[in-house]
Structures are given as structure tokens and as C-alpha cells.
């Protein structure tokens, strides 16, 4: 891969290391937030409730554009990638197992093109 094809943040080294250090520092701050303060009073239940939904709130939205409009196909919806995504979710909901879910998605992603020739 030539440097001009790289995402800008990966190509420009100071940006990449700024990202790594800043993300590490912010993540540590979140982890240390309450453990760091002795005798921290518990958070209001409503705040805890909001925080509990962060994975569900961020990750599906993060993935959705990549599923519907993959950059690798120039943003055109790809039936194989779409089917693989649907299969990953279905397998995950049914088996409740992350590895089984990945296995099902990968099987469709690589198997379907073979089946369709």
C-alpha cells in the first residue's frame, strides 16, 4: 500500500501517536474516575443507567454505514457484506456466543461468493 492511499491520521505519524496517547489517557481517566476517589459517593441510578447503554448506543451506529455503504465497493451496497452482517447478528442473538457469531458472519462473507461463483 503506498503512503498516499493511507488514511491521513495513519500516514501523519504525530497525529497517530496523538490519537493513541489521547485515547489512552481519556480511557484511563474514565476507568480511574471513581476508583481514584476514596469514598466516592455512588452515581445517581439514572446516570448509571445511561452509561450502561453506551455500547448499544455507539457500536450499531458506528457499523451501520460500513455495512450499507462499504468503502471497499466505492459506497455501493454489497449483497454479500449485507448478508454477512445480518448472519452475524442472527447467529449472535440465537447462540449468545461471540465466536459463533463471528464464525457465521465470516462463513457467509467468504462462502457466499464461492457459492455464487
Amino acid at each position: 500500500m503506498s503512503p498516499d492511499q493511507l488514511p491521513e491520521i495513519i500516514a501523519v505519524k504525530w497525529k497517530l501517536w496523538t490519537l493513541i496517547v489521547a485515547l489512552g489517557a481519556l480511557t484511563f481517566a474514565l476507568r480511574f474516575s471513581f476508583l481514584g476517589v476514596i469514598g466516592a459517593r455512588p452515581l445517581p441510578p439514572m446516570v448509571l443507567r445511561l452509561l450502561r447503554y453506551t455500547p448499544m448506543a455507539v457500536i450499531p451506529g458506528l457499523v451501520a454505514p460500513a455495512v450499507l455503504w462499504p468503502a471497499a465497493t466505492g459506497g455501493e451496497t454489497d449483497p454479500v457484506r449485507l448478508a454477512a452482517a445480518v448472519m452475524t447478528v442472527l447467529a449472535g442473538v440465537i447462540t449468545r456466543n461471540t465466536l459463533a457469531s463471528i464464525g457465521a458472519g465470516v462463513a457467509v462473507l467468504f462462502g457466499l461468493p464461492l457459492l455464487l461463483g
Binding site: 488514511p7 493513541i20 480511557t27 476507568r31 455512588p42 457500536i59 451506529g61 457499523v63 451501520a64 471497499a72
Partner: protein, 234 residues
């Protein structure tokens, strides 16, 4: 180490064993995806050692490939880790009286797997001494975290052997969906996920991938609201 502490440490270690199966493949995948996106082995290891948070690391790679600017990548990936504040709050009653350096180290090592194993134990046995709880926590991370480093390195060092015509770009979305789908249980989970997807797609026109942050905030509120309403109904 005195024997009650050693026993607690070993129980923590045993509780983490099921997670070992999951961490290896995820770390390897991150190594493959990050080097595939153009990072060096050192930079890839930088992520896994400095951040140790798989979902945020994958999110950062995805956003960089989407061409999002630096500040947006930092804050959106950090938003994926907001749940860590909740972990910290819920462990504080159990570990808040440990020594400062221990609490700092625990914070660095506070990952999903160590949190789940530790809070399960502390809820079951709330009256154990703080030193035993600390030993138990360190037991839960002693395999998982080194394995995270090692598997990242393995994926980064040997991932180049994977043929480049495979649809590897899609490994990240699949990994994310496979993290989320198994824990989709309640109506509130589904509501949050739907708002997240619908909101992000509807706000895709917003500059610098900022629609995702707006949609995420809305999805958190909807998830918490649906949970509250559901409880009242029941």
C-alpha cells in the same frame, strides 16, 4: 504471598479462563486489521498497550478509514469507553480503600472481562477483606491482558501473510456486530441499537462523522427511558 491472597488470586485466574478463548482471536484480529490499515507493528502495539480496549481500538481504526478528523476519532472512540466510568463506579465500594498505586493499576487493567468476573465475585462475597478483593482482581487480568498484547502482536507480525483480496475491510464490522448481538436481550437494548443505527444513517450528512455522536447520545437516552418505562409497566 500469604495463602488467603494466593487463593483469591487463583480464584480470579480461574474465573477469567472462559474469556481467554475470546481475547486471543480478538487481539489477533486487531493486529491484522490495524496493520492492514497501514499501521506498523509498533503503532499497533501502542494501541493495545496504551488503550487496552478492543471496541474503542476497532472504532478508532474504522473512523480513521472513514476519513474522520483527529479530534472526532479521539472523542468518538473514547465515547465507546464511557461504560468504563460505570465499571469504576460499581467497583469503588469494593476496591476504593486499596492503596493508590493499586487503584491506579486496577484502573489501567479494567477491561470488560475483568470487570464482569470481579463484580460477580464481589457481589457474591461482599465482606472479604480489601486485600483479597485486590488479589482476586489481579487474578482476573493476569492471563487476559498479557494474552491481549501477545495476540495483537501475533496478528500484526504475521497478518501480512493473509491474501489482500479477501474482504478484510469487513472484519471490523463483523467483530463489532458479534460483540453486540449476543448481549441484545431487552426491549431497551433493541431500542438503543435501532436509534443508534437510524440516527447515524439519518445524520450521515453532518460533517466529520459527528452525526454518530449525536445519534449515540440519543440512543443512550432512549435505552435508559425504555428501561425505566418497562420497569414501571412490570
Amino acid at each position: 504471598m500469604p495463602s488467603p491472597l494466593r487463593a483469591a488470586f487463583l480464584r480470579g485466574l480461574a474465573a477469567s479462563l472462559p474469556f481467554v478463548l475470546v481475547i486471543g482471536p480478538f487481539g489477533t484480529l486487531f493486529g491484522v486489521v490495524a496493520t492492514g490499515a497501514g499501521m506498523t507493528v509498533l503503532e499497533t502495539m501502542g494501541f493495545s498497550v496504551v488503550v487496552i480496549a478492543g471496541a474503542a481500538q476497532f472504532a478508532a481504526v474504522q473512523l480513521m478509514q472513514d476519513g474522520a478528523p483527529l479530534v472526532v476519532v479521539i472523542f468518538t472512540a473514547a465515547a465507546v469507553n464511557l461504560r468504563m466510568a460505570m465499571y469504576s463506579a460499581s467497583l469503588a465500594p469494593h476496591l476504593g480503600l486499596a492503596k493508590l498505586w493499586q487503584r491506579a493499576l486496577i484502573s489501567y487493567l479494567l477491561v470488560d472481562q475483568s470487570y464482569v468476573a470481579a463484580i460477580t465475585e464481589f457481589t457474591r462475597n461482599p465482606d472479604r477483606p480489601v486485600a483479597e478483593k485486590v488479589a482476586y482482581f489481579f487474578g482476573t487480568v493476569s492471563l487476559v491482558v498479557p494474552l491481549w498484547y501477545l495476540s495483537t502482536w501475533g496478528g500484526a507480525a504475521f497478518g501480512k501473510a493473509i491474501p489482500s483480496d479477501l474482504a478484510l475491510d469487513f472484519a471490523v464490522p463483523i467483530a463489532f456486530l458479534a460483540m453486540i448481538a449476543p448481549v441484545l436481550r431487552t426491549p431497551a437494548h433493541y431500542a438503543a441499537a435501532l436509534v443508534s443505527v437510524g440516527g447515524t444513517l439519518a445524520l450521515w450528512w453532518m460533517p466529520y462523522s459527528s452525526g454518530l455522536l449525536v445519534a449515540s447520545a440519543a440512543a443512550m437516552i432512549v435505552g435508559a427511558l425504555v428501561e425505566t418505562l418497562w420497569e414501571k409497566r412490570a
